[in-house]
Symmetry: C2
Subunit: 175 residues, 2 copies
């Protein structure tokens, strides 16, 4: 499954072929279609679900549950870790950009909506007004996605790290 995720991340949904999957995972077509009768689409859906679960467990839920300052600090750390300082892209963000979006719109929407809501909730608990919290949360989530695009385009991890720490300190100053 992690291999599968990495393939989709590198090649995109359309760029990922069954032969690439069998080659890089060592799993034959027979097994692949045994576990994923729905084919490529089901595989991608499973990967999306796994990604979602990871963020739910390690980012969103702490944001809802823990002390805002602590959870938000953990979020920045977790994000930098997960995306390897820009060395790894966000599969959900990539899917959101091209024609793949229509196929998985619900999963994509949910991933981002819950992220923004959880972060905004933490900011409200941290003392921000509803509107301001939402705006700051959107800015943070969108900033992470943009940092992935830019750092990858410039092939420079420092861009990602700089952006992350910049947003972190800026956000911390708001509450």
């Amino acid at each position: 499954m992690p291999l599968l995720a990495e393939i989709f991340r590198e090649l995109g949904y359309e760029g990922t072929t069954l032969s690439q999957i069998t080659e890089r995972t060592g799993i034959g077509k027979g097994s692949l279609y045994h576990f994923f009768p729905g084919g490529k689409e089901e595989m991608a859906a499973a990967v999306l679900e796994e990604v979602d679960r990871w963020f739910e467990d390690f980012i969103y839920e702490p944001l809802r549950r823990d002390e805002p300052a602590v959870a938000i600090a953990a979020m920045w750390r977790g994000v930098d870790d997960y995306f390897r300082s820009g060395g790894r892209i966000c599969l959900v963000g990539a899917f959101a950009l091209d024609g793949t979006r229509e196929r998985f719109s619900e999963a994509i929407n949910g991933y981002f909506r819950r992220w923004v809501e959880a972060l905004a909730g933490a900011l409200v608990r941290g003392g921000l007004k509803q509107d301001a919290a939402r705006a700051e949360a959107e800015a943070a989530v969108l900033g992470i996605q943009g940092a992935l695009v830019l750092s990858r385009a410039l092939d420079d991890h420092d861009v990602f790290r700089r952006a992350i720490t910049g947003m972190q300190t800026r956000l911390k100053a708001t509450f």
Copy 2:
């Protein structure tokens, strides 16, 4: 050419097929390969070049030439216009995310590098220090890309507009 750009934007590089192109442009394969002997790759390169030229003419060059405050205001307006408030994605950003990146790395890198440099230059002329100007420029460019991802994922143009105006007022306050 604008049609071609729109197809690549919607479907991504890998998702765009020759038959889609012939169908949606009404141009047959014969003509297509007559003007682009290099096939799909050459078509995408031509589109990227056209996009680059547009930004060079209407965004980067004004940033280098005009009064900073004026050029930067024009940039935000131009960006909101060009991307139709998030209704249209950035082809270069999308290409930067998946395997297409390796194929066009130079064009992708140049597009973003020159954007950041031109904006940072304007900010320096506006009174910012070199480092601060670069950081702010990166934040703005990356914010635009992220806004495209998020607004598209949530299917909500307001997210894009809110993010753009937020960044605009924030940036204006720095110089």
